[in-house]
Symmetry: C2
Amino acid sequence: MKTEIGIGLAGFGTVGSGVYKNLIRNGALIEERTGVAFAVRRIAVKDLAEPRKVDAPDELFITSPDDLIADPSIRIVIELMGGIEFPLKFIRKAILAGKSVITANKALLAEHGKEIFELAKEKNVAVFYEAAVAGGIPIIKAVREAFVGNRFESIHGILNGTSNYILTRMTDAGLDFSPALGEAQKLGYAEADPALDVNGWDAAHKAIILASLAYGFWVEPSKVLVEGIEKVTASDIRFADELGYRIKLIATIKADDKDEIEVRVAPTLIPKSHVLASVNGVFNAVAVRGDVVGETLFYGRGAGQDPTSSAVLGDLAEAAAALISPRESCGFATHDLYGECKPAADSISKYYLRLGVEDRPGVLAQIAGTLGGAGIGILSVIQPESHTEGSVPLVLTLHDAPYGKMQTAAATLASLPCVKTEPLLLHMESFS
Amino acid sequence: MKTEIGIGLAGFGTVGSGVYKNLIRNGALIEERTGVAFAVRRIAVKDLAEPRKVDAPDELFITSPDDLIADPSIRIVIELMGGIEFPLKFIRKAILAGKSVITANKALLAEHGKEIFELAKEKNVAVFYEAAVAGGIPIIKAVREAFVGNRFESIHGILNGTSNYILTRMTDAGLDFSPALGEAQKLGYAEADPALDVNGWDAAHKAIILASLAYGFWVEPSKVLVEGIEKVTASDIRFADELGYRIKLIATIKADDKDEIEVRVAPTLIPKSHVLASVNGVFNAVAVRGDVVGETLFYGRGAGQDPTSSAVLGDLAEAAAALISPRESCGFATHDLYGECKPAADSISKYYLRLGVEDRPGVLAQIAGTLGGAGIGILSVIQPESHTEGSVPLVLTLHDAPYGKMQTAAATLASLPCVKTEPLLLHMESFS
């Protein structure tokens, strides 16, 4: 028993054209597996004259995404346009028209997820978004469905392939940030404007979606601590290595014992022995710890035409199943078992602190005294050999402390005459 | 809007009692997420007097699993009894009575999956089995749902925690098989009768389920090449290490370009750089390569009370959703896009061959000549230092060849007067 379901594609860029290509390529297989033949009825693009990355019949193309919504033969719309305001309006209209929605738009969901899913629930319309987080890795499905019996103790993710590529090259080849970024750009792993990738916000959007799903309330972007990798140097990576750690851009999501949630994206020292430390290049990975399942890890390509299409095709099958036999879920279950996000200043971790200090006796005593006065305990101190004009590096690792208190202490240290360079303060995760 | 759904547990051993415990523990959370309150109505056990691993009210316990099926307040039965014939009869009756079924019984599905899912389809009843493969890792969901848009190029899995623990200890501590097995037994990682775990059949049952799911037809156990880890020695692990490989019990599932399927479970050399090589101890992992998604990996605990319960709880949520809004799928979609399993003798790979040979000039020439005569190319030869009475080890790695031809050549070598010990022939996977 086969069913045909009409779909509309909004956007025919890298991902949109990939979805079309792979749907043509594996359509027979998908039909055999699901009993559904997906027919692309229309494809909305900005400019009909723009060269297409994938061949498709000219008559499919239109310039008004609203026409996808108006077309009664289209039951599922796939939003792959990019941007925020325009896709938000489009998705709102699609939901109001009763169309099922699939989107890969992480920024949109991170900023407007609450509104979208409230509207979807009200209109009893399903919204799918597997492709919005970690590309081809089915982490939305895992968190939402497979681990439904678990309290999430923590989720740690490498969610931005560009940053991970840059940090991998800085680690393997000893490059500093700028040349590693240049290399990533040359290979097409980083955009001409790499800001969102390297400043942590792309990963933060994905972390907000994961955290919201895991804890049942929409996390406000303003509550998330977001730091990029721009300030990390090749020396920091070497010093971390000496201490037994790798530096990765890690999204950390955790519930404490008062059910308050912490969400942070920052370059973070993780033990070399932890499996996330071996996730290199453009790959993504998400380590999920549930109170029942224990430690798990999901690994794969987090971006790119094909991996992202794989997630969209999975969502298409889900959307079709939900159309054939409607379920109550809109793709996001809110609940009241968890509290709020705690302020970033209250989040507790260990730290790596790199200072450039005067090379004379007494300096360490002064720094240790300042930290002691602030109530911050020292785990280790190393003074790596380094050739810097006017100062020598001093690297400390510090006991668990609230981030706000730690930042204040770092500012106090920065103001000491013996401290010659801006301190670099990084989080350390021990996964204990 | 909450729904209450009655469930019946058949079996209250390690997994059964774990499901009960975790359902009590996280019941409120599951209800908030799914809108369903699961109520355990009855628990069938063999012996009411047997001490229980988890506390539960006495009045729940009965001794006849049939009474679970007869109870109209029970809509989902969870089969966690173990064995094959009795659970098969029980599941048949449950399907005929229109109950949704959840099972963790891999041997049962590997041997009778075809019959079970045909009956389930006929009766329009859903059967779930996430817990049957790789414990808490949601690999069934990934293969069946998330990757529905992919042709599966290959699936490689470490699917038996006991064997993986033993091989890890042999690698890390240089132990031979027997003492490593003893250690696993002392720690509770291996049963008193470890046969199914170390002879490869436990992993083979799981591989049969995965392969069947990936390719849409039930793979016959007789078509699967199954070899255990008993013949692997600490020396082999050391020799493999010299060659840049680790030895793991790997389930290999592959489609060739004629859509013929190969399923094999055997101790296999894999490159140290491959992510599966770092999966140690009792952990499981599955690397899935799809034509759209590319390389992915799933990692977690493959056995044990809690991880396995996590999978059962996920299935419970699915079963409830399917009851509330019935879907056509019975949990297994057969289709006609793939052919058959090819005979193990036709499967092609590279090989590791360890011989014990006379320590005199001319021996290598004779062995190389024999292999050359059989049309098998040599990739490398090492003659590791070793103290064995009457023979010295000679380790060869061999080019791609059909397994049947390779076995014949190994038998010919074994019959040479200069070959003093039984040759050990292992597969090598290069993941190319």
